[in-house]
């Protein structure tokens, strides 16, 4: 008996309930990882100046602004120069952006939340540093501004994935799944 053309077997959807796209899709995450790598490259270059590996820093617009900012007491307020911390932050962003498949919003909520925690505060700190530069030292640093732009651009796409994971954890909790299991495996 000819049953006619078979309907395609539906694949398990990776789109969160109530969403119309998958925030964990590679098309969503790859740009974030690329931005993190760009930001990391900038931060590593600035680190090399702050660690005296290179003698000067590229500054096309603000004259001695970059040197004043990068040599400022604020940049040395912690045991390591702030650009080194920035580079480490971008590395965490890139690594946590790469780990996991396209369903990680429900399989690895802890990782997605860690990713959001890494991206969000890094962006906020970058903006704060952009405020401190002119207000405290009356100077701007081109590459610091570029790094801040990169950080801010990463926030939006990262946070929507965090939202999907938090919604999933909430649903798991409503099914009486424990916090630890809900966060670690999504309650699977």
């Amino acid at each position: 008996m000819n049953a006619g053309p078979r309907a395609p077997v539906p694949r398990a959807s990776h789109v969160p309930p109530g969403w119309d796209y998958n925030p964990s899709a590679w098309s969503q995450r790859t740009p974030i990882v690329a931005l993190a790598l760009v930001g990391g490259a900038i931060a590593i270059y600035l680190s090399l100046y702050q660690l005296d590996v290179v003698a000067s820093v590229w500054e096309p617009f603000f004259g001695s602004g970059s040197r004043r900012v990068l040599d400022s007491p604020t940049s040395r307020v912690l045991p390591v120069p702030d650009a080194v911390l920035g580079a480490a932050g971008y590395l965490v962003d890139a690594v946590t952006g790469l780990i996991g498949g396209v369903d990680r919003w429900r399989r690895m909520p802890w990782l997605v939340i860690l990713f959001g925690v890494a991206v969000g505060p890094l962006g906020a700190i970058s903006v704060l540093l952009v405020v401190i530069q002119p207000v405290t030292y009356d100077a701007f640093c081109t590459l610091c501004l570029a790094s801040a732009v990169v950080s801010v651009l990463m926030i939006g796409p990262a946070v929507d994935e965090v939202l999907a994971s938090l919604q999933h954890v909430r649903r798991a909790r409503q099914r009486n799944v424990g916090w630890a299991r809900a966060l670690i495996s999504g309650g699977a």
Partner: protein, 118 residues
């Protein structure tokens, strides 16, 4: 381009312009410059971030920043250039907060879902 997108882009431009205004307007050493150089970067960052589906409500933070700009001349001295920057920037930020970015995507009820649930 949707009105909400234009509104956030206008807030972004206003934020960047506020960062440059003290140098352009010649009031770099004034207290008004500190206000504008503080509000500007935050306003620009909020405008960009509010363009994303899950963060549209963040635009309301620019209502607060716009109000700060508009009220600052009553607290710290502003010369004419600073006054113009404060009025224009404040007006754009306040107005941008009332125009929601387009809801291009559904996000499962957004953050409200976490609070209210179903």
């Amino acid at each position: 381009m949707a009105r909400g997108t234009v509104a956030q882009l206008a807030a972004l431009v206003a934020g960047v312009a506020l960062m440059a205004a003290p140098a352009v307007g010649g009031y770099s050493g004034d207290a008004a410059a500190d206000v504008h150089r503080t509000v500007g970067p935050f306003a620009a960052a909020i405008a960009v971030t509010a363009l994303w589906p899950a963060l549209g409500s963040l635009r309301w933070a620019n209502l607060v920043l716009g109000a700060v700009l508009l009220l600052a001349p009553a607290v710290v001295g502003h010369d004419t250039s600073a006054l113009v920057a404060a009025a224009a920037g404040g007006a754009v930020l306040v107005a941008s907060a009332f125009v929601a970015p387009p809801a291009r995507h559904r996000t499962g009820g957004g953050w409200r879902e976490l609070v209210e649930g179903r």
